[in-house]
């Protein structure tokens, strides 16, 4: 459809609800997309609303707890065949509004574009991972987790990707995150200089059976410290006689 029949700039009614997106839709466009009517019929309870933005871009809002079956159907149904996950990202509008997870889908066989969104409240930032549907989601979901703090259930390897793993200032693309970070410049410099290269150059990325692995991070005296588990042939790390435990869990001992 061309821009003439769509909502150009001048006839746009303006921001409707908190999301800043447009809700009032020109007549007839809701049926123009080849996938939306069937999606609505099939997932009636999960289908929240349908918008057309920027003239010809169709956006479907889906309940976050039903996002996986909806996307799986869009991928596997031969009439839809959205086999190419073009993009997966999130939008934070600030002011405590829910974060939108954006799935930009493309169907290479049918040449259809569809954007699916799920809104997750800040109190429960969790959705199902779509890595089983598209492998491309692996790094994209890691980036969303890194930048927005959205957790993806059943993701195979949900770690920070762009920020360092010891990064303790939060999730940078959230609106409540200040541009220069949460810590002072002096504190950031101190932390950068205090980082031990071993934290990055150990074979911690590899699973059990290695020499040791980082099992998590904890704050010790305000410092993020990797908790390393020494895997010595199935034997749990034993605390030594002087009270300090073998693993880096110094805050629990009281010597």
């Amino acid at each position: 459809m061309s821009r003439e029949e769509g909502s150009g700039y001048r006839d746009v009614p303006g921001p409707a609800d908190d999301t800043g997106a447009l809700v009032s839709m020109p007549e007839g466009l809701e049926r123009a997309h080849p996938s939306v009517p069937e999606l609505q019929a099939r997932f009636d309870e999960a289908f929240l609303r349908h918008e057309v933005v920027a003239g010809d871009e169709h956006v479907v809002f889906v309940a976050p707890d039903r996002i996986y079956p909806v996307l799986e159907w869009l991928k596997t149904d031969p009439d839809q065949a959205y086999n190419f996950l073009s993009d997966l990202t999130a939008v934070d509008f600030g002011g405590g509004r829910p974060i939108q997870i954006v799935y930009q889908l493309y169907s290479i066989p049918h040449r259809h574009v569809l954007r699916v969104k799920a809104e997750v409240p800040l109190t429960d930032l969790e959705v199902e991972s779509v890595v089983p549907i598209w492998s491309a989601a692996n790094w994209l979901e890691r980036e969303v987790y890194d930048m927005f703090g959205v957790r993806f259930r059943n993701h195979p390897d949900l770690r920070r990707i762009l920020m360092p793993e010891v990064y303790a200032e939060g999730h940078p693309l959230r609106k409540d995150f200040p541009l220069r970070g949460r810590f002072s410049r002096a504190e950031q410099t101190r932390r950068a200089l205090a980082q031990a290269p071993e934290d990055y150059y150990v074979p911690s990325d590899f699973g059990p059976g290695r020499d040791f692995q980082v099992v998590g991070w904890q704050e010790v005296g305000g410092e993020p410290v990797p908790v390393k588990e020494v895997a010595t042939k199935g034997k749990a790390p034993q605390p030594s006689e002087d009270g300090s435990s073998g693993a880096a869990s110094g805050d629990r001992t009281s010597s």
């Binding site: 700039y9 303006g14 921001p15 956006v59 190419f84 491309a136 980036e143 995150f177």
Partner: protein, 425 residues
Amino acid sequence: MSKKTIELEVSRTPEMGMDFRPAPGPMQPVDLAEPDLRAEKMLINVGPQHPATHGVLRLVLELDGETVVRCLPHIGYLHSSFEKLGEYRTWNQVIPLTDRMDYLAPLIYNCAYAMAVEKLMGVEVTERCKVTRVIMMELDRVFSHLLWLGTWAIDVGAFTPFLYAFQEREKVYKLHEAYTGARITTSATRIGGMMADMPQGWDVGVRKFINELPRTMDEIESLLSHNAIHIGRTQGVGVIGAEDAIDMGLSGPNLRATGVPYDVRKDRPYYDYETYEFEVPIGEYGDCYDRYMVRLEEIRQSCRILHQALDRLPDGPMNVDDPRVILPSKTDLMNDMESMIHHFKLVMEGVKAPPGESHFSVEGSKGELGMYVVSDGGSKPVRWRVRPPSFVNLAAIPKLVEGGLLADVIMVNASLDIVLGEIDR
């Protein structure tokens, strides 16, 4: 008397020579456990400071002998938080950030961003601007592929193609500089047009460049395409099938090398790409050699598009006549109250995009480059997201190198054509 002395005494037999070395005789069995190295896996770390990683990419490789068992990429060393910075800048001020992402094809990023914002605003740019942007994007596709070709040749061990490619690349640098004043950080586009009309004779320079380029390409091709070492290093290396490639989200030449003819210019044409005559080269086997061949052919096809675009370059204004986005002329500004108000508002507040969002994809040199802009009606974006083609392509590298040889990791990485400025953003 210690045990050692006794052993020495015992072992000192008449057969010993003057230098106390035992005379040659039957070997005694040594009771030393031979370490079984076959089960030992070795971890090696490639990068982040390594010339063949094309930036600051770090790969942790688990090796069994010379075979890669696991590959773990680490990125983020060049993270510059462009997307966060963009939220603190006006719509036009974001443009300098875009070319710093992919500094190998900056004009494509400039154009893609401007096109996304224009789509959001409902601004239709002029014909001359459209053709100019097509010229710029195709020029930078050649520009980026030439760098890829040079570094690819270096990685395979051939030095000469690198020099040839960079000699040609220097001409594009000069064209960049002639148009925008900068060699890499071009910042050429504005919302609704370009920073300036093209300088006198610039299109002649472009035509001269594309007339000379095919000869250099022939020379480079004669050095590589039928070279036994090059073929041996690249054919059957880093193979990925079409299904897997789509599943991993590969795009651009990496996807087309697997035989999937997905090109945004053909599938979702923008800027009248459907009226240009060009072909989309596809590969057959999805290996490194196919990715090489696809990119070589893309350079030639881009030259075809450039010829057609230069032929049809229309006269007329470069910038759209829309007071919302483009400053009025100085004459209007001094004589017309309306123009002065527009000028004041544009300078003081910047361009204002209506509430809404837009996701616009172009075919970048590395793959599908998407720009997602979200506005709340203000003069700054609420969210500016780049769909990074290299980032998604690089995510496939474990699949491509696992099971292969260590030496092939370098070739696979070179064949993916990544740029870390855009991966880390």
